[in-house]
Structure formats: structure tokens, C-alpha cells
């Protein structure tokens, strides 16, 4: 597999996991307000 194709596939995979995470957050009843605490790993 070409390097660029591999890089693209990895990018798509991690984006899908992140999207699933956002979807999970949105699906939590009454938990939406906790999202702000989870936004930045540096702070």
C-alpha cells in the first residue's frame, strides 16, 4: 500500500473514532455540560 494511502486511511480511522466520541457525548442525557471539561488535553 502506498504511503499516502496509508496516511489517509489512518487519518480517516482516527477521525471516525473522534466522531463516535462526540456522538457518545451528545447521547448522554444530562451530560452535555461536561464536554467543556474534556476539550483540551493541555489544560
Amino acid at each position: 500500500m502506498r504511503r499516502r494511502t496509508r496516511e489517509l486511511l489512518v487519518g480517516v480511522a482516527i477521525t471516525l473514532v473522534a466522531f463516535a466520541g462526540v456522538y457518545w457525548q451528545a447521547a448522554q442525557p444530562g451530560k452535555a455540560g461536561e464536554v467543556p471539561r474534556l476539550v483540551c488535553p493541555l489544560h
Binding site: 496516511e7 489512518v10 487519518g11 482516527i14 477521525t15 473514532v17 473522534a18 466522531f19 463516535a20 466520541g21 462526540v22 457518545w24 457525548q25 451528545a26 448522554q28 451530560k31 452535555a32 455540560g33 461536561e34 464536554v35 467543556p36 471539561r37 474534556l38 476539550v39 483540551c40 488535553p41 493541555l42 489544560h43
Partner: protein, 399 residues
Amino acid sequence: MTPWWRARNLVITAGCLIALITFGARTSFGLFTEPLSALRAWDRETFALAIAIQNLLWGVGQPFAGAVADRFGPGRVLAAGGAVYALGVALMAASTNGTTLALTGGVLVGLGLSGGSFTIVIAAFARLVDEERRSWAMGLATAMGSLGQFVFAPLGQAFIGAYGPATALALIGGCVAFVPLLAAALSGGDGSAEAARRESSSMAVREALTHPSYLLLTSGFFVCGFHIAFVSTHLPPYLTDLGLGTGVAAWALALIGLFNVIGAYGAGVLGGLYSRRLLLSAIYASRGAAFALFVLLPATPATVLLFAAAIGLLWLSTVPLTSGLIAVMFGTRHLGLLFGVVFLSHQVGAFVGVWLGGAVYDATGAYDAMWWACIGLGMAAAIVHLPIDERPVPRLATA
């Protein structure tokens, strides 16, 4: 022959998992604030103080951890940092008063983060991953750290629901305990001529601090911290003041998290293809433009979410580019230390952004001045990156 545990893909996978676990576990702490405080009868300030101490020690400890990693190898520092981090989280679960919480969740976790977080992973990648894939690997590690929040939030919530907050926190500590194991793959360094030379840490810092490009890069990363911390902390109350409600704020910040993963990874890929200084300049200019449009356009849920997506793309995309530039300019021998110093500047910027946001709001009753400061700083950072010299310092060029 390279042993199987030093294979390139395994090194990258282990480093990314370390970034995911260390960042993810830390971001899950927010889930424990309420249930653990209720269980131990703590007020909100008790937990907040421990996290504040943690942030401070993480930032201050980073250059020292980087220097130790440069001297003794990133794998050892990651292993030690991960062990201290895991111990801190486990003991946090057993803490029954504010003092022990400050010592465990504050001091131990803060010091553990200094040794076990992404800056050391990036230093390890610089030594162990070939130059062609280095920028991509740095972007991937940054993106995986951001992804950690989406993995550990459901995990932490599930643990709390099943076992209660104290046991759940101990289980999170158990996850962190895998870091020393993963760090084995990142042990050792390269055998290059650069690694064989023995410039001292103080010589490396002196060389960097007298190099105009390093100072420009450090000032740019200060702006990055300022922007990120200000938006993280003050965007929700700003939107509430505008009457948009906490739901829009929560979605905005969730979108920032999502697009941050894409932006950090994309920046790593682009950093391997194009000039890093120009990419950084474009990122900071785009931030300035995004802030300007956000302030000038009418605030509606649609404009807020568009702003969140744009600023998310530009969020940690600076990390693989900034660290990559330092590796190119000064080599990999002291990358842990030199990136640690730049990271400290980021944390100082973050402190100023959060604090000044509150001070300006208290003084004027609005955030307007802060938004304009964000625009101005973004444009200033875009300009200061333009004259950065991306070439290796003469010491490396003649080696």
C-alpha cells in the same frame, strides 16, 4: 538487526498509545469532580487546587524531564513518569482530605505528566523514527493524545456508573500503569553522530536562547497557549452571556475536540511536505481571521459552530510543526529540553489567557477586549514566524 520491539511501526504505535492514555486519563478527571467531591465531602475548590498544582508542576517540570530524557533516553523517563502518574491517580482515589489530594492528584500526577506526556513521546520519535516519517508521526501522536479524551470519557463514565468514583479512579490509574510497559518500545536512542556528540544541556539552552528563530518560535507558542486556554475557559460563559445557552457551548467545545484531531494529524502530514514556518504562520493568521469573523458576525448557533470547527482545526496543529522545527534547527539531541522550554512558554500563555480573560471581564463586564487581543496576537504570531530560519544551526550543518 533491529529487535522486534524496536520495529518502526511498533515504536510509533507505543508512543501514540502513551499519548492517548496519558492525555485521556487526565481529561477524564473532570468527570470525577462532582462524584468524588460528594463522596469525600470536599468543596469544589479542593479539587480545583489539586488540578491547578498539577498544571503548574507539569509546565515547570517539562524542561527538566526533557533534559533527563535527552541524557538518559526518553523510554526511561516515560516509564518513570508513567509509573509516578499511575501511582498518583491510584492514591488520588484513596485520598480522604484536601492535603493528600493535592499531594497525589497535584504533585504526583503533575510530575508524572512531565515525564510521561507527549513532549517526551515527540522527543522519542525524533530519535527513533526516520526523518521522512517524523512529522507524520509527531502529528499522529498529537492527534492520538486529543483522541484520548473521547476514549477515556466513556470509559471513565462507565467505570463511575459500575463501581463508584473511587474505584473508577483507581481503574483509570490501572490503565496508566500500562505506560511503563509501552515505554519499553521507546527505549534507547539513535546511534547517529549527533547523538554521539556531548553538548551539555546548558550549552544547548544557551545556543537556543541566543538564536532569534528559537525566540520567535517560543513567542508564537505563547500565543497558542493564550488562545487555547482563553477559548476553553471563557467561550462557554461568553456564549451564555449572548443568550445562546450551555447546549451550544457544549457542542462548540465538542466540535473543537473533533476538529482538533483532524487538524493535528493533518498538520503532521503537511509538515513533512511543506515549510513548517509558513504553515505555522498560516495557522496563526487563520486563527486571527477566525476570531475576527466570530466577533464581527452576528452570534447564532450556526456561526458559533462554524467558528468552533475552524478553531478546532487550528487548535493543536501547531504542536507537530513547532516541535518539528526545533528538531530541524537544533537536531534531536536536546529536543526534549528545548521543546520543554517552548512548552513552558505555552503554559505561561495559557495562564495569562485564562487570568486576563477573567480580569478583563470583571473590569469591563464584557470579553470584547479579549477577542480583539486574540486577533492581534494571532496576526502578530503569524508575522513573527515568517523570518524564522528553518535551516539547521551551523554546528549541525558542518557536522
